[in-house]
């Protein structure tokens, strides 16, 4: 199987280029295995990965035009030759490794932790099964960044638009019966940028390897805002 891989080492290359590799395809091989095989051929080739089972969220790459986690992308589902690039729109550190600090900064902006105003009880704060169900489809995010880096609105305004990942997280805490900072959370999302740059393009939904739906979460936040405003 042929691979066209994005290469860039800012210390030695004046500009990025694509390099061809050929590897022997074995049964059950994922893209991460292919990248490891490529690394055996050329040790200078750099990419991030860790868990190898779609849990850590560190090996997001752009494959044949869509963002995927390499470790759970079967080679059999990819068109030969496979074009592998770093996430679009992020500054490249080296080869497939990009700088995600802006993405994390946006996540940080939604205060992604539980906030209580009442004093904390001695024991855990109980939820009914129904209240717990509200978190399904929101809490599973592994912060791989496949969604935000596939979002055109995030490409144009990554410093001002929070992006689908951070907004999904905002929704996760708005939906949590134990959280008591709903008002403040909504206030922080005000203005034309943080939330309302989303134009419901749904690239994020297509990209999410965990099958989550940030567009729906964003719609949910808008609905809560509307209800509060009238």
């Amino acid at each position: 199987m042929k691979f066209s891989v994005y290469r860039y080492n800012p210390e030695t290359d004046s500009e990025p280029y694509m390099q061809m590799f050929e590897i022997e395809q074995r049964q059950g091989m994922m893209l991460r295995d292919a990248l490891l095989a490529i690394q055996e051929q050329d040790e200078s080739f750099t990419f991030r990965h860790s868990c190898g089972e779609g849990v850590c969220g560190s090996d997001g790459v752009n494959v044949n035009g869509s963002n995927k986690l390499a470790c759970i992308a079967p080679l059999t589902e990819l068109k030969d030759p496979v074009e592998v690039r770093p996430f679009p729109g992020r500054p490249v550190i080296r080869d497939l490794v990009v700088d995600m600090s802006q993405f994390y900064a946006q996540y940080n902006q939604v205060d992604p932790w539980l906030q209580r105003k009442e004093p904390l009880p001695e024991q855990e704060i109980l939820q009914t099964p129904e209240e717990r169900d509200q978190l399904d489809g929101l809490y599973e995010c592994i912060m791989c960044g496949c969604c935000s880096t596939a979002c055109p609105s995030f490409w144009w305004n990554p410093d001002k638009f929070l992006g689908p990942q951070a907004l999904l997280s905002a929704c996760r805490f708005l939906a949590d019966s134990r959280d008591q900072a709903g008002e403040e959370r909504l206030d922080k999302l005000e203005g034309p940028y943080k939330l309302f740059r989303c134009h419901t393009i749904m690239s994020c939904v297509e990209a999410c390897p965990k099958g989550l739906n940030p567009t729906k979460a964003i719609g949910h936040i808008k609905a809560i805002m509307l209800k509060e405003a009238i």
């Binding site: 909504l186 005000e190 203005g191 940028y193 943080k194 808008k222 805002m225 509307l226 405003a229």
Partner: protein
């Protein structure tokens, strides 16, 4: 409404005007299919009916508001230097106001004729 409405209000206006535009265009379409006005006088008479006139005014108001929100969205997405964005937005705003005045004049003239 709180300050929060600066993003919410634009978004809400966009949805609300879109719904009105669809409904009114459906009405317009059925009118043109089932009793198309065959003369200038018929057109004028149609527009002169108070409900039609009001509907048309609202339709153009919606259209212009919708255009404003949409155009502003495009500029916020793609045109980042503030000075350029404000200039384009101002020009566009004046053009929309011009259109609005023109529509009001047309409907007013049809009503008094």
């Amino acid at each position: 409404m709180s300050r929060r409405a600066s993003g919410l209000r634009a978004w809400f206006l966009q949805r609300a005007t879109a719904i009105y535009l669809i409904l009114f265009l459906l009405y317009l379409l059925q009118h043109l299919i089932f009793n198309p006005p065959d003369s200038f006088a018929a057109w004028q008479g149609w527009v002169a009916q108070p409900l039609v006139g009001l509907g048309l005014l609202l339709c153009f108001a919606s259209l212009l508001l919708h255009a404003w929100v949409g155009f502003r969205d495009v500029l916020i997405d793609y045109v980042h230097p503030t000075a350029i964005r404000v200039s384009i937005l101002t020009l566009f705003g004046f053009a929309l106001i011009g259109c609005a005045l023109w529509v009001m004049q047309t409907i007013f003239l049809a009503t008094v004729a």
